[in-house]
């Protein structure tokens, strides 16, 4: 918490209202309690109030039930991570209380459902406990239901009261959420909300108000990474996809299945992972870029067909929402352990493009970029998202859709002749036409996974295999030359350069901010283009004594994570070192600072 400290009033008497610039609220309950929707409402409200917001959630990998949390950090200034420690913990059950009290900052507020939670005496000395019989009060407000429904909305009302949130806007959001359903449902939800909102806090607790956010010129949209990625694909002109359900990728396929028909497109649920990538490649061959995706083991299954796409030079976007692995692993936890399979998965020399979005907003733009690169270079692009970025909600500046949206309908204008694997251009990039295009020479191409000549006919020529291998590699080198150099966050020179990729950007930036404030010379470099790497990274490394690659994957046999291994192989620089972990959780800011500090001393 910045600017002011958020503490409950310990002295009796009238409650005060403190002005704060940000707060971290953790809601802990069971997955069926609808705590994600409380978080969703808060995030949406923050977006509408021109505030920054970031969320973090965990869900159990069980069909129904199991402990679940949702953490939301709302701030008037820039919010980079979901926050290391919570200011307020809302605990629905004993296990929620016991399991998450550690996440609360010292003298933080624990708001608990006294119908289910018996407080611990030790902890009562350390944290400010506020007991509210949430379950019974909800029943009083809306009548009893067998499954305790509605207490999430009641709790939302309570939070609204404690933080002086705009209750009219929240009620508006509730109305929108239940729009189209039975009006009685909306009414019940509003009753629960009002009851929570009107709960007489008395002198139990201090209330807070967020300081006024600076006015923005553009409005913000609020969504999670999976949504932003899927909408980015649509904006880029993707109109066909195919997939097989697997957590956490399924959200993207469900969204595309729902949305694509509006644009005249289709998303097909396939019999398996292999059929999905095959079908997406078929659609790409048909003239547009097809999309498929998966998580965990599904990615392994797709690698043979991915290799075909590389050999046959067919564009494709393969989304990998990474989860804990190997094998079935930790389906609902985060890990960055698919970088190697994304870059190298498959047999033979198979250069492909790998992009890793750094935050929710970047999911949208990376998806657009993936489609553009796939089309321009006739190559499969792996979009390396992860569970954390996919499920967390952020508010970001609304994209200018009118300018950004692309039409990639194939051009079927007849051509004189066509060689899909022409070796003419030294860039390695050859033209591609969609079937349906008349070729006046009467020589039609075969698109193939066998090594081939320029027209696509099979060859056993050792010279052609060398030349075509060069071609497939050189076009990625051409791409590398056009990539923007990633900006160094902090100063260009100093002691430590933290290198990261993917969803760790927020906590890494926050760690850099925090240590720089304390006078340390740390900076960070976040790499979005994983394969090929942008040129000139060594120049950024030159300015620092230590290059620490922070990743959520294992340190491996030799002490380097997956990106660190690539960077060491590429730059042969012994100062590149790895900071790794495999606990299925996102990095905390203090964890990064502590680990890096320990490693350099």
């Amino acid at each position: 918490m910045n600017d002011s400290t958020l503490t409950a009033s310990t002295a009796g008497g009238q409650s005060n209202n403190a002005n704060i610039s940000e707060a971290v609220i953790r809601i802990a309950g069971n997955s069926q309690d609808g705590i994600q929707s409380i978080g969703g409402f808060l995030a949406r409200l923050a977006g509408r109030s021109e505030q920054e917001v970031m969320t973090f959630m965990t869900i159990p990998s069980t069909i129904s039930g199991g402990p679940s949390i949702f953490q939301v950090r709302i701030g008037t200034g820039e919010v980079l991570s979901a926050g290391d420690e919570a200011d307020v913990l809302l605990a629905f059950y004993q296990h929620s209380y016991e399991g998450h009290i550690d996440s609360l900052k010292e003298s933080g507020i624990v708001l608990y459902d006294s119908d289910h939670v018996t407080p611990n005496e030790e902890w009562q000395k350390k944290y400010n406990h506020v007991a509210i019989p949430i379950s019974n009060l909800t029943i009083e407000a809306i009548g009893g239901t067998a499954r305790d429904k509605g207490k999430n909305i009641y709790a939302l009302g309570l939070i609204c009261r404690i933080f002086n949130l705009n209750s009219d806007k929240l009620k508006g959001l509730i109305n929108e959420k239940f729009k189209g359903k039975n009006p009685a449902i909306t009414e019940t939800a509003l009753n629960a909300f009002n009851a929570g909102h009107l709960y007489e806090l008395g002198d139990l607790i201090e209330t807070f108000s967020f300081s006024e956010a600076t006015h923005r010129d553009s409005s913000q949209v609020v969504m999670n990474g999976n949504e932003a990625l899927a909408y980015g694909l649509i904006a880029a002109g993707v109109r066909f996809g195919a997939g097989y359900p697997i957590t956490p990728w399924s959200d993207i396929m469900e969204l595309l299945r729902r949305e694509l028909p509006k644009y005249g497109g289709s998303f097909i649920q396939c019999e398996d992972e292999i059929a999905s990538i095959a079908m997406a490649l078929g659609a790409s061959y048909g003239g547009r870029v097809g999309v498929t995706g998966s998580s965990g083991p599904g990615i392994s299954l797709k690698t043979e067909a991915l290799g075909w796409g590389i050999m046959a030079e067919i564009p494709l976007v393969l989304v990998d929402v990474q989860r804990g692995g190997p094998s079935t692993g930790m389906p609902t936890n985060v890990e960055q352990s698919d970088l190697n399979i994304a870059c190298f998965g498959g047999h033979g020399d198979s250069p492909r493009v790998v992009l890793a979005p750094a935050n929710v907003e970047d999911c949208f733009y990376s998806a657009m970029e993936a489609v553009r690169i796939a089309r321009e270079f006739n190559v499969p692009v792996v979009l390396l998202s992860d569970q954390a970025i996919g499920t967390r909600i952020e508010a970001f500046d609304e994209p200018d859709l009118k300018t950004l949206c692309k039409d990639i309908t194939p051009d079927l204008t007849p051509v004189e002749e066509h060689k899909p694997y022409s070796l003419e251009d030294v860039s390695g990039v050859s033209p591609r036409i969609a079937p349906g295009t008349q070729v006046k020479s009467g020589k039609y191409p075969v698109i193939t996974g066998l090594e081939h000549d320029e027209l696509g006919h099979p060859t056993g020529s050792s010279q052609l295999h060398q030349e075509m291998t060069n071609k497939r590699r050189n076009k990625l080198k051409t791409l590398a030359k056009s990539l923007p150099f990633p900006q160094v966050y902090g100063g260009d020179h100093g002691d430590v350069l933290i290198v990261g990729w993917g969803s760790t950007q927020g906590p890494i930036h926050e760690a850099v901010d925090r240590v720089r404030k304390a006078g340390e010379k740390w900076s960070s470099l976040h790499i979005r283009h994983i394969n090929p790497l942008p040129e000139g990274l060594e120049k950024a490394f030159d300015g620092f004594k230590h290059v620490m690659v922070v990743e959520m994957n294992d340190e491996g046999l030799y002490g380097y994570g997956q990106l660190a291994g690539i960077l060491r192989a590429r730059y042969c620089d012994p100062k590149i070192k790895g900071i790794n972990k495999s606990d299925g959780m996102t990095y905390k800011v203090k964890e990064i600072i502590k680990r890096v500090t320990a490693a350099i001393n």
Binding site: R44, R48, E176, V221, V222, E227, A235, R239, F240, A242, E259, P261, K262, Y263, G264, G265, S266, I268, E271, D272, I274, A275, S276, A278, M279, A280, L281, G282, A283, Y285, G286, G287, R288, G290, E304, A305, W308, A312, E398, L401, C405, T409, L412, P414, P435, G436, T437, Q438, V439, G442, K443, Y444, P445, V446, I447, T448, G449, G456, H457, P458
Partner: protein, 317 residues
């Protein structure tokens, strides 16, 4: 049953709906000559049954007046799957067993093309068995010719899923023990809407089956016995009159709309019946997707794509 008739497939699949593809095809072009449709000289062994299937595919293209750019020939891996290299048209040589889902991607996103898939028994019933079932139940609008030789030829004589019990191969030197797949029974059970059986040694019948398959709206599949003269010579002599066998056509009174009747015919011992086992009209995947698209587009009528997305973004502000 009626959806495939009520929804105009070619016109309403939105993936290419915005453009008139027919404009690209001048109507006054002469049918292709055999020379114009032939590409590489086939690499099959002399005497291979696959030559006959290729020759009749050319004949089919000619008699239907198809043009190069409208034809897409897709194959997986195997001797027979070399097919696309020999056809002068858009060709795809995909990976082993997965030609059907690839072709589904083509057929659904480009309903203006004629999508044909050729492959062998390994592709169809072994590595790609799952895809055969699901392409059938989805009823994707394409034609699949399974060139069945009862043996793995490209890898030089291993047991195939259709090899009869007792067949001596390099992987079953004492004779195959696993029960062979009955393609007709499997296709009926999978829900294929057009199922036919023919042989490479009866060109007239083979051409007629391909022609009828192409007429069919939906997934049409043909099992065509095609002898491997190198690794399983004489496999189909019992079905070849000039080798003393019998080419037994399906009786004219067979009810092609009855799964049960088709199954009974399929139960006949080798060489079995030839002809159309099953032929019904059911909603195709193409039509189902097209109707999903047209009802979704009703709500966004007159809007440009970016405006549709803007509407969605307006709701998450």
């Amino acid at each position: 049953m009626s959806a495939s008739n009520t929804v105009d497939n070619d016109a309403s699949n939105g993936v290419v709906a915005e453009q008139s593809l027919e404009d690209a095809e001048p109507s006054n072009r002469a049918p292709l000559t055999k020379k114009e449709i032939s590409a590489d000289h086939p690499t099959w062994c002399p005497g291979c049954g696959d030559f006959s299937i290729l020759a009749l595919y050319f004949r089919l293209i000619q008699q239907r007046g198809l043009h190069h750019e409208k034809i897409t020939t897709v194959a997986g891996i195997g001797c027979s799957s070399r097919f696309p290299y020999f056809v002068q048209a858009n060709g795809v040589h995909f990976i082993h067993g997965r030609a059907l889902p690839f072709a589904t991607g083509v057929a659904l996103s480009r309903p203006d093309l004629h999508t044909f898939v050729f492959g062998g028994d390994g592709d169809a019933f072994s590595i790609g068995g799952n895809h055969l079932t699901h392409t059938a139940r989805k009823n994707v609008n394409l034609t699949y010719v399974i060139m069945d030789n009862f043996v793995y030829g490209l890898t030089k004589k291993q047991t195939s899923p259709t090899s009869p019990i007792g067949f001596r191969s390099k992987t079953d030197v004492g004779g195959s023990k696993d029960k062979p797949i009955n393609p007709m029974k499997q296709l009926v059970a999978a829900g294929a809407t057009f199922i036919a059986r023919t042989t490479a040694t009866n060109p007239k019948h083979l051409l007629a089956m391909m022609d009828k398959a192409m007429d069919h709206d939906g997934f049409s599949v043909i099992e065509c016995l095609s002898e491997c003269v190198e690794f399983y010579p004489g496999a189909f002599d019992k079905a070849t009159p000039r080798k003393g066998g019998a080419f037994k056509e399906i009786p004219e009174d067979h009810d092609v709309t009855s799964e049960l009747e088709a199954y009974k015919l399929a139960d006949d011992s080798f060489p079995g019946y030839f002809g159309i086992f099953y032929d019904v009209n059911e909603p195709t995947k193409n039509a189902n997707e097209a109707s999903l698209i047209s009802s979704a587009r009703e709500k966004v009528a007159g809007m440009q794509d970016w405006e549709i997305l803007q509407k969605t973004f307006d709701r998450v502000k």
